[in-house]
């Protein structure tokens, strides 16, 4: 190990009150807000610009989209539960219980997997087979882009969580506090992914 490491990777900066990783994560999330913001903005602009019902280009009613709120609602609950398990993982680690934290992490990972599997097998595949392709209408363009990008974020989260369950776990032995911090940052990201879905669900499935 080297003698001089970077300061504030683990412990909070005395003035700003946070460690660098958390600050960086928040900054990253801010940029994510703008990323999804642009997509939501597109939704708003295209939605208010859409012509009224008789026109073939009118905005599809919720029946016309054939999106099931049951599946969407189920996935919403899955993500909410995964947020709870994520934060519990952190809390357990914070209290020094590594094996409990690990269990919660696994749960989170499996819930994320559930989300993706449900999304793909019950929604994407049947929809695409049924001719509801992205090119069908503005609504479906938005639907696939928004949920697709969100899904990629979920998968990204799974990769990170998987890393901390696998090779990344070694860090716990070296520096438990550092490990816990990294789980906190992962959690911040994970809750953000959940938060995006909280908006996506009503906008796409219920309107």
């Amino acid at each position: 190990m080297s003698t001089q490491t970077l300061p504030y990777t683990v412990h909070p900066h005395p003035v700003t009150g946070i460690y660098s990783g958390k600050f960086g994560t928040w900054l990253f999330l801010a940029s994510e807000v703008m990323l999804f913001g642009a997509l939501f903005s597109s939704y708003v602009l295209l939605r208010v610009g859409a012509p009224e019902a008789p026109s073939p280009l009118h905005w599809p009613s919720h029946e016309e989209t054939h999106l099931s709120w049951r599946i969407g609602g189920f996935n919403t609950l899955v993500l909410i539960v995964s947020s709870v398990t994520m934060v519990m993982a952190w809390a357990s680690l914070k209290m020094g219980d590594f094996s409990k934290g690990r269990r919660y992490l696994w749960l989170t990972f499996l819930l994320a997997l559930t989300f993706i599997v449900v999304k793909l097998s019950l929604e994407y595949v049947p929809k695409l087979r049924g001719g509801y392709v992205p090119a069908k209408s503005t609504f479906f363009s938005l639907y696939y882009t928004l949920t697709g990008l969100h899904g990629l974020h979920v998968i990204g989260g799974m990769v990170v969580i998987g890393y901390f369950l696998g090779p990344g776990a070694a860090l716990w032995k070296r520096d438990p506090e550092y490990y816990t911090n990294r789980i906190e940052c992962t959690g911040l990201y994970w809750h953000f992914v959940d938060l995006v879905w909280i908006f996506l669900f009503p906008v796409l499935y219920l309107m």
Binding site: S2, F28, P134
Partner: protein
Amino acid sequence: MSSHDHHTQGHGSGAHHELSFWRHYVFSTDHKVIGVQYGITALCFLFLGFCLMMMMRWQLAYPGQPMPVIGKFFGEAAMPGGIMLPEFYNSLGAMHGTIMVFLGVVPLLVGAFGNYVMPLQIGAPDMAFPKLNMASYWVFAVGGIVMLVSFFVPGGAANSGWTSYAPLSVIATMGQTLWLIGMVFLITSSLLGSVNFIVTIIQLRAKGLSMFRLPFFVWAQLVTAFLLLLAFPPLEAAGVMQLMDRVAGTSFFMPEGLVVSGVPSTVAGGGSPLLWQHLFWFLAHPEVYVLILPALGIVAEIIANNTRKPLWGYRPMVYSAIFLGFMSFIVWAHHMFMTGMGPTISTFFATTTMIISIPSVIILTALVISLYRASIRFTVPMLFALAFLPMFAIGGLTGLPLGLPASDIPLHDTYYVIGHFHYVVAPGTIFGIFAGIYYWYPKVTGRKMNDVLGKIHFWLSFVFINMVFGPMFVQGLAGVSRRLYSQVGYAHGEAVQSWTITSSWGAWLLGLAQIFFIVNFFMSMRAGKKVSDNPWEATTLEWAAPSPPPHGNFTTPPVVYRPPYEYSVPGLAKDYFPQHAAAEA
């Protein structure tokens, strides 16, 4: 995401690891190596962008005439018989803009200068997230390679302008797809970089270095990083949407009822071409301040150093920079006045545009007043920094007629706009970059660049760059549209064609003038005069480190005692008082 890294090796002078060649020079996590990587790559791209443009200038000056010597290398698809095709011209134009902005200037100002100088100036051992820093460089490199590859696909590189307005870009050839993919990489790289910059500046300042003791350059980098962080994601989203339009047949930007080449289009429609413009300019207006702020930072450093005097109005400058950054997010639609915008919204955007010019005036005024009662040393970096001021003034002032919707009517999308922004980016930003290179070269290499060559480079560049861009205002006022493969088909274009020719000769002579720079740049690495750690007798922290600085930068962590520009302090023997000096040595 968990982007932080526990950096466990390679730091501090105490522990010296033998790094392999690859870890040391290629996949290095040292901010200085990464800075140099960015610098070299970006200079090459800058050179490439310049070459593309010199070819365009031939077609503009002598339309339809075969290009001497070079023409025959390009083959039938681009230049049959040495005569440039319009599609090739458009590719060159779009790629010149893209390369200059995203692969040349931003990586130089932020990736190279920011990365190299900023941590030194704040007395940090490295960036906050060294591995992330390395990742930004490599993501950038991939983006650059994708852009380069796009020249060789069928149909050539993207040819819908650097603005890629839909629907043109959606129906364009394959190069556009690669452009979009490349942009997604470049944007991602900038995002990663900006997170790193902000955290570093906020968290890793040396002891005693409060925010208002930061050199102005660091402030400029901080504001710039925020612009990158919050303005770039919308274009990433827009890029994904345009990719969907091109690849999956969606119609985000495609309205119904299109008839392309006489054939009714099959896309569903319902999209909005203006949506693309909003998302693009939401990025691209802040982007132009990304191009200018760090350059202003460099110029401020050099002016303080060579006037031997504290900067006049340091605090107002900092506040102006912050305000400028903030406002730059809400002026974007001044690029869209001619899309049929109504009076209310156009007034809003025109007002914000006028407001945003005020902080620029304040910064420029402060820099000019800093010369008063100074003791000006006309070193090479100082020459470039001084020339920057009136050149930026011309560019900035010509922004005003563009910012008022009424006077923008005859000027929009003419060469007047081209003149406006080239005055800010070329004799403005590029001069800032040259100034920075001459100024920090001794820090990076331990040697100074040659003075005489530098001065020749400066004077020739100064004269010829005005010869390039001055005539553009004349063309623009005469009504010549931009992005014209040839203007002589128009009577009003033909009338001012001789100015175009002047401009082209200016560009080629400017190119010749760069030989003095390139020779100097490479020659000085071996043959430049060896200099001390602080050859300019400067006060800021980067000069407290050895030249070139070792891993971990400082032999002992520096402590800061005073504001950044304490020059000519009365009662001291030396005319500079470094930030880290406890008392006069």
